[in-house]
């Protein structure tokens, strides 16, 4: 499908209010060029991505709401391909302490940055892009019921492996329940799920200590894959530098272990010309085979609507004998610009 990208000049971010009804809408357009150095597989070593992302949300009188978020993607790498992704489209009803939603939703129950054990309904987490910088993750078709009382929150969810589209490989229909509570600064969740023929149970927490330290952890057990665990922390310096570190062992027969470290700062310095900059450096390591991938992200804001950025990945490790060493390029650099209304 050839897509014609229509730039919505008239779509300005704003809201309208009638009684208690509110609306939110926005559009962003991203153009990103990519170059792979030392490519070891046949194919083009350069490519381009054009991404149009409209979002719309409407809430009527604190009773019902509708939200949708789309991504129209055109990629050129040798040949051109286009795709329309529905990231989220759901309808919700607010009934006192109960919230009901049905539709396609992005739900994240895991507390880890690069990895997760308890995020059974989460979209796949890419440790080299934990924030999904291009917002390409899609939700799952699901129905949820949320009951909130004080600091207690119980969510019951049923998620399909793929109702209207192709069933995603490896994904199974999942029924899950999560109890979340805030006690003495611990934001804690207990999760039980039934996925296909397997049962999962797990728990996670986050807590802040003092002014600068945050700790988080996840533990889960499945009757088919065994136990997985994650422990991590975040430290913030007085100058605003944030460092995150995680250790992760997934539930799998191979008993792999991973490390993740990220150091970054938004608003590099509180000075004109500097505070528009964000810089982040990450390292993901497979502790078993010693392979690793380093990621550098740098970006600068221009005015209210433009953001220019660069994203660079550099894997290393034994070729064909390690996880990150098997990545078929020695470096991947992307440069892009986003316009947002």
């Amino acid at each position: 499908m050839r897509s014609i990208i229509i730039f919505l000049l008239s779509a300005a971010f704003g809201w309208s209010q009638s009684d208690n009804s509110e609306m939110r809408y926005s559009v962003s357009l991203t153009d990103e060029g990519e170059f792979a150095a030392g490519l070891r597989v046949p194919g083009a070593d350069t490519g381009n991505l054009l991404l149009l992302e409209p979002t719309f949300a409407y809430k009527s009188s604190d009773f019902w709401r509708f939200s949708t978020s789309l991504a129209a993607v055109t990629t050129t790498q040798g040949e051109t391909q286009s795709q329309l992704r529905v990231r989220e489209t759901y309808f919700g009803i607010d009934a006192g302490d109960l919230d009901l939603t049905i539709g396609k939703r992005l739900l994240r129950w895991g507390t880890g940055y690069a990895f997760t054990v308890t995020g059974i309904l989460d979209p796949p987490r890419n440790p080299t892009d934990p924030t999904d910088r291009l917002n390409l993750n899609e939700g799952r078709e699901m129905a949820t019921a949320d009951w909130v009382s004080g600091r207690n929150d119980v969510t019951v969810a049923w998620a399909s492996a793929g109702l209207f589209g192709k069933r995603q490989p490896g994904m199974l229909d999942t029924a899950a329940i999560r109890y979340n509570v805030l006690v003495d600064g611990f934001d804690t969740s207990v999760i039980v799920a039934h996925e296909g023929s397997s049962t999962f149970s797990g728990a996670n927490f986050t807590r802040v200590f003092g002014e600068a330290v945050e700790l988080h952890g996840e533990f889960g057990w499945s009757d088919t894959t065994g136990a997985g665990a994650l422990i991590g922390g975040k430290y913030t310096t007085r100058s605003g530098v944030t460092a995150i570190a995680e250790f992760y062992t997934p539930a799998s027969a191979e008993r792999q272990q991973y490390g993740f470290v990220r150091v970054g700062k938004s608003r590099l310095r509180e000075r004109p010309g500097w505070k528009e900059w964000d810089v982040t450096l990450s390292l993901v390591t497979n502790l078993g085979d010693g392979s690793r991938i380093a990621v550098l992200d740098a970006g600068r804001r221009f005015g209210k609507h433009f953001y220019a950025y660069t994203h660079t990945e550099s894997p290393s490790g034994k070729r064909n004998a390690s996880e990150f060493g098997a990545i078929p390029y020695s470096a991947l650099a992307s440069i892009g610009v986003t316009f947002q209304l």
Binding site: R271, P272, H305
Partner: protein, 244 residues
């Protein structure tokens, strides 16, 4: 004999001086000033923060703030490059929701301090909840007679370690403030420039924050669309931070 007399005279003078000090309940004054500043215990308001560098407009941020009671604050970011973000404060605990992570992320107190007007300046405006107050003195600011209070942080979630706070003597309306970090560094000054009325309640409509480190930098916070409103408790749940 002379020394004893001198001590008696000094003691008498001190007693007289103490008796002359006004009997001021600093904490009660602080609570009164919070009511004047915030208007209602449950409200929504829109805040525009304009940053200036050398008197030239630099950045602009827009927020929709919902406040319930002393310790529940929900902030929606409305500027084009920040939209889709939400901030939740429950007492000393804080989360930020970023649309690209699609989940609430726990943040530390130090992560709140960015820019001239920080997230703490937006979200924590009930000083009586966060600080212990001590009366220092009475002095004039221009023509306005003010009571000067020293506020000391009593919660780990307090944005600043210490605040010097000038309140108008006749009604405890905030006039100006000086903010200090744990290190003792004087980081910001603020003036409370204008107040408005909504439903018989007074609330702050304009505040200017001056950076004491970068002297040519300041921010203006403007409050508008103020509405006293009963807000549901579930709005202030970290599990619901992904929706407005």
């Amino acid at each position: 004999m002379c020394n004893r007399l001198l001590w008696l005279v000094a003691g008498g003078a001190l007693t007289a001086a103490a008796a002359a000090l006004p009997d001021i309940d600093a904490q009660a004054l602080l609570r009164e000033s919070d009511v004047l500043r915030n208007g209602s215990s449950s409200y929504v308001v829109r805040i525009k923060i304009t940053n200036f560098e050398a008197d030239k407009q630099d950045e602009e941020h827009l927020y929709a703030v919902s406040q319930k009671g002393l310790d529940k604050t929900h902030v929606e970011f409305l500027s084009p490059r920040e939209k889709g973000r939400f901030l939740l404060m429950l007492g000393d605990d804080m989360w930020i929701y970023l649309p690209d992570t699609s989940r609430p992320v726990r943040i530390t107190p130090l992560e709140r301090l960015t820019g001239d007007a920080s997230n703490g300046d937006v979200a924590r405006t009930n000083y009586a909840y966060d600080y212990d107050a001590v009366y220092l003195r009475t002095e004039k600011v221009g023509d306005i007679e003010c009571r000067v209070l020293e506020l000391s942080a009593k919660r780990k979630g307090s944005t600043y370690h210490k605040i010097e706070y000038w309140l108008r003597a006749e009604d405890a309306r905030p006039v100006k403030a000086e903010f200090y970090l744990t290190s003792g560094k004087h980081i910001k000054s603020a003036t409370f420039d204008a107040y408005g009325q909504e439903g018989g309640r007074t609330y702050l409509t304009r505040m200017t924050i001056h950076d004491q480190i970068r002297k040519n930098s300041h921010s203006v916070m403007e409050y508008s669309n103020y509405e006293a409103r009963q807000l549901p408790d579930k709005m202030f749940s970290q599990g619901r931070l992904d929706r407005f």
